[in-house]
Symmetry: C2
Subunit: 146 residues, 2 copies
DNA sequence: CTCTATAATGATTATCATTTTCATATTATA
DNA sequence: TATAATATGAAAATGATAATCATTATAGAG
């Protein structure tokens, strides 16, 4: 938690921006929330603690969090941007059940290595990736079978 | 080309929908366009051939194309949905240069196998995936270096 | 071929997430 | 504190997509 707050302060300073109570509160709430969160969900949480904060501020803050590398966007293809904390968390990809929308965070070192290799083969220097695996989870397979 | 048109006809029939000149034209243009295309880009192309076609029809058609398995959505995270032909084309993933937005279609059989394995490990039956690799292409690396 | 029920069309409006605007308030600093 | 720049919140604007609805076109029955 502390590390992220420091990182954000560094970012703010470097960019000649300013720390404000609103930003501090939004950062705090964002970091405490695990998993992914949309701007609106975050706004709802923020409002509970300070109803005077506007949602434009939340949107603006999410942009700053992304730029600073503290948050990163996760696309689910439903037209809503979601963000997750990118600091103090392991990198992971997403395994999603297309029946019940359950989501599991996964990592596979071998895949990561092959991604590097694949990019290099095409002359690219890999800087990041997003991988979404879609399938049917155990429970939903049972449901369908029964 | 022919195969996709037949597939769409089968889909249309099975769903008790109807083939129309508009749908035929949009399908034709969609199939001829390689790479990915947004609803608006497709609409612009369609308008050139028949200015009377409305964009609602294009949106509706893209939905049908997705449902029928002829098109599939590609997310680029810029808030615009793009589609690409999914028939008569090899499956592929995307390698994108974050500097110049150049995009290369890639496939790696080893990665595909590991994805299967990873999903299975979590009890999922894999039905599909999306993988986006982000990096800096050769030219842009040079540019930065020079 | 004609009739008929139903689906498709296109123009328009609505929706929903996100961004911008702008007047006001707050901040860091001199 | 005074000042210049940035941040805020409310509201309006935007942009992509979806829904509405009156009209038109289609497939199949006869």
């Amino acid at each position: 938690m502390k590390k992220a707050a420091e990182l954000f302060n560094d970012f703010i300073t470097k960019k000649n921006l300013r720390m404000t109570p609103q930003r501090a509160l939004i950062l705090d709430i964002f970091l405490k929330k695990q998993g992914h969160i949309s701007a609106e969900e975050l706004y709802d949480l923020v409002k509970k603690r300070d109803p005077s904060i506007g949602q434009a501020t939340v949107y603006r803050m999410l942009k700053l969090l992304s730029e600073s590398g503290i948050a990163r966007a996760v696309e689910f293809g439903d037209g809503v941007a979601r963000y997750e904390s990118h600091i103090g968390r392991e990198h992971h990809d997403h395994l999603i059940c297309t029946e019940c929308n359950k989501e599991v965070e996964v990592v596979d070192e071998d895949i990561e290595k092959l991604q590097e290799r694949l990019a290099r083969k095409h002359g690219f220097k890999l800087t990041g990736h997003k991988m979404y695996l879609y399938g049917i989870c155990r429970q939903c397979q049972r449901k369908k079978g029964g």
